[in-house]
């Protein structure tokens, strides 16, 4: 029997859902967005070896891959991590709509067994939706380690759904979970009817069920689910059912009466009802070990240091320095150099092949000097991005990032942001591309946009070679000081920009900051690698589309003059002419030379190009000592060098970052305005720096 089933994966954040999804789907994953919203959607296909033993699919018992996608593949849709099915966030709406309207065959509810009380709150709501639910109790290894016991059968009885104990990170219980899910899909059990209400709430709920049953069924919704949402005052549900004014009025009366009897408002009543049911359920099915509830857990002990009133911030700074040391220090540089060598080798190889094949010279030029070199220069910072992502992914999966957001919330509030903005902005010190992408985890669009606009001011890793070079040329004795000043300068400008943007564009406060502090856990290597791979793939895709075009454009502009003949030198080319045209703009900033403005223009492609362009224009090797002298030629004074650095620090981000920002801001207009705004800010700041330096006699 060939049947394509769809399983939805639902659960709290930090419940190990990602780990489970990775275990179930392996590399058969696709990451995208839910239509119309920037909520990440992951879908995948169940690995065949998990089907093992079911026989229905005719799969060999010990699986292995099939040659083509079979029409008995099982599709797995990973829903966003949610705590409830309220109508207040996109994640919740997307999840409940998917389950009720797209009607997957089974909902696999993953539950953090060390946190059962709060996790079951979502479970109770999922059970109402009408789709068969299979509950996976994850992190059972930790439960056992605490000495606690969960009576799985008892739990299953209370919830009227199959329950299975698993440990996703170790791969335990997975096959049993799949078997139960397939079983539920095939036998399509009726919706559980778990009656959790008592007293006045019970009366009110049943009155509403009775009232809306026909309309609910007409739109394909479980009446109990519809009624419960109406009970909670859920506006989208009212709309979906298209209730008449009379019906609304009756419901309102029912609920008002209930509120008076219960002494609480309706949403509180429902929440209270659910949690009390959970408490009763746990009394019967959760046996606590001899451990005292107040005894500090391992996580608590770690937190004594990491969120210590005095030590927390220094420890955090050290942590960040460690991340940057790994990314930009000996290890990171070794990887980056190795990768760059590979890329260069590849380009050389292709170049030779083209030459041997007697391809037209202009085409050779286009491919080698244009496309490959350009793309190569951008790809060359991929190792840095990947390493950075790895470090940050480890920090996130371990649970430390939540603590960082906790520590940073108060300072960020002054800017109108919240603690969650901190992570993207810190990442911006590595590379704007992953930083901006990580802002996706923020559910408030306002917060996301605000954060993304400020992130580019954080001096990214690509600018480091520029600073390093200039520092060597002009400030040899004060290299570290100057580099630190650059970083601090970026932060200061970001703060100022933030304060201004808050007043002008992003009125009001950030989204409420109510966040779970998960237990510290060792990140799973598989998850970290998968994360790295996803981000790298995303970046490379971007590199090949946007940057491909941009590199061809730049190559063309710098190789040809306005008569479309090969230009004798860069200065004669279109780019050179353009640079000559805009150079006067930089005159007040102290670097109104064609060379400087050419470098600025190529820096739009990739910040490292600033260095290579200056080298090419001066006719020297960027690595050589002659480069330093050449720089002195282009920038006559220390003031002009500092001013140039300031401009490079702050002006629009590179093409890759621009493309990422456009996507995450969901608007080309915003991205363009941001780029223009940054150029404006850069210009003003460079001017200030130049004038101040002149005054200081530099």
């Amino acid at each position: 029997m060939s049947q394509q089933y769809t399983f939805a994966l639902a659960g709290n954040q930090n419940s190990g859902k990602t780990t489970l999804f990775n275990v179930l789907t392996g590399s058969n994953q696709h990451v995208g967005n839910w239509p119309g919203v920037t909520v990440e959607q992951k879908t995948g296909v169940l690995l065949h070896h998990h089907h093992g033993g079911s026989g229905h699919f005719g799969a060999p018992a010990f699986g292995g891959k099939r040659d083509k996608a079979e029409n008995n593949d099982i599709r797995i849709v990973d829903l966003p991590g949610i705590y409830s099915l309220s109508p207040y966030s996109m994640e919740e709406i997307v999840s409940r709509n998917f389950i009720t309207l797209e009607k997957p065959d089974v909902v696999i509810n993953i539950v953090d067994a060390t946190n059962l009380e709060r996790n079951l709150y979502l479970t109770l709501q999922l059970l109402q939706l009408g789709t068969p639910v299979v509950i996976a109790l994850n992190m059972m290894d930790e439960v056992r380690a605490h000495g606690d016991v969960i009576k799985v059968d008892e739990l299953s009885k209370w919830l009227q759904a199959p329950v299975v104990a698993i440990c996703a990170r170790k791969g335990e219980g997975i096959d049993e979970l799949v078997r139960l899910a397939i079983d539920a899909a095939e036998n399509h059990r009726p919706a559980p009817r778990v009656d959790i209400c008592t007293g006045a709430a019970h009366k009110a709920l049943h009155a509403i069920i009775h009232l809306v049953e026909p309309k609910a069924q007409a739109v394909g919704l479980n009446p109990r689910y519809a009624a419960t949402k109406l009970f909670e005052g859920d506006d989208p549900m009212k709309e979906m059912l298209q209730l008449t004014e009379d019906e609304n009025h009756i419901i309102e009366e029912i609920l008002t009466e209930m509120e008076q009897t219960e002494g609480m408002e309706r949403a509180a009543v429902m929440a209270d009802v659910r949690y009390r049911y959970i408490e009763r359920l746990l009394e019967k099915s959760y046996i606590r070990g001899s451990r005292d509830d107040d005894e500090p857990t391992k996580s608590d002990k770690i937190d004594r240091l990491l969120t210590h009133p005095v030590m927390a911030i220094p420890v955090f700074i050290l942590m960040m320095l460690l991340v940057f040391w790994i990314t930009f220090g000996p290890f990171g540089t070794w990887v980056a150099d190795g990768f760059a060598a590979l890329v260069d080798g590849g380009i050389g190889f292709i170049g030779d092949a083209l030459a041997r094949a007697d391809v037209a010279v202009w085409l050779q030029e286009l491919i080698v000097s244009g496309v490959l070199t350009g793309v190569g220069s951008v790809l060359s910072f991929m190792p840095t991005i990947v390493i950075l992502f790895m470090c940050l992914s480890i920090l996130e999966d371990s649970g430390y990032m939540a603590r960082a957001a906790f520590l940073m919330d108060k300072p960020l509030r002054r800017l109108g942001l919240n603690g969650r903005s901190f992570i993207p902005m810190i990442m911006g010190f590595g590379c704007t591309v992953p930083a901006v992408m990580s802002a996706r985890s923020m559910s408030s669009r306002r917060d996301r946009r605000f954060t993304i606009l400020l992130t580019p001011f954080m001096s990214c890793g690509a600018k480091v070679p520029v600073y390093a070079l200039f520092a060597a040329a002009f400030f040899n004795d004060n290299k570290v000081l100057v580099m630190s000043l650059m970083y601090l300068g970026g932060i200061l400008v970001a703060i100022l920009a933030g304060l201004i943007l808050k007043r002008v564009l992003f009125h009001g406060d950030a989204a409420p900051f109510i966040m779970e502090l998960p237990a510290y856990r060792l990140p799973t290597p598989r998850n970290v690698l998968r994360n790295m791979w996803d981000k790298a793939k995303d970046f490379v895709q971007r590199a090949f589309t946007v940057i491909f075009l941009a590199t061809i454009a730049v190559w063309f502009l710098q190789s040809f003059n306005f008569r479309f003949e090969a230009a004798a030198s860069v200065q004669d080319s279109i780019l050179g002419t353009l640079a000559g045209v805009i150079a006067p703009i930089f005159a007040p900033l102290g670097f109104g030379t064609v060379e400087a403005s050419t470098a600025v223009l190529t820096g739009i492609m990739a910040k490292e190009s600033v260095v290579s362009t200056l080298a090419v224009l001066a006719g020297v090797d960027a690595e050589s000592g002659a480069m330093l002298a050449a720089l002195h030629g282009v920038f006559p004074s220390v003031a002009s060098a500092l001013s140039f650095l300031t401009f490079i620090l702050l002006y629009m981000p590179c093409v890759a970052a621009f493309a990422a920002m456009k996507r995450e801001l969901e608007s080309r207009t915003w991205a363009v305005c941001s780029a223009l705004g940054q150029c404006g800010v850069a210009w003003v700041c460079a001017l200030v720096v130049y004038r101040v330096c002149l005054l200081l006699g530099l």
């Binding site: 009380e117 509180a268 409420p512 109510i514 966040m515």
Partner: protein
């Protein structure tokens, strides 16, 4: 700190000191905030303990239903605690 008695004279969660606990009386806030507080387990009658505060006193880390939650002082102030009846 007496484990058997909730902290005296703390009207809301924001007033708790590290280590003190109380029983929630009402949950304030509106709309999304109110709902989120309830969803995360802050319901009338629940036992909450203040674990610690961030270096600047804000946000707070509270412990309830077996897990830890961060909460801003402003939001915590909206969660009132049951007061012990005065015994004459």
């Amino acid at each position: 700190m007496d484990k058997k008695q909730p902290a005296a004279k703390r009207e809301n969660v924001a007033q708790l000191q590290p280590g003190e606990w109380g029983i929630v009386d009402t949950v304030g806030g509106e709309g999304a905030l109110h709902r989120h507080l309830l969803d995360m387990g802050i319901t009338p009658g629940v036992h909450v303990t203040l674990r610690k505060t961030a270096p600047m006193g804000d946000p707070l880390e509270i412990h309830l239903r077996g897990y830890s939650l961060t909460l801003r002082k402003d939001d915590a102030a909206r969660i009132t605690l049951r007061q012990e009846e005065e015994q004459e």
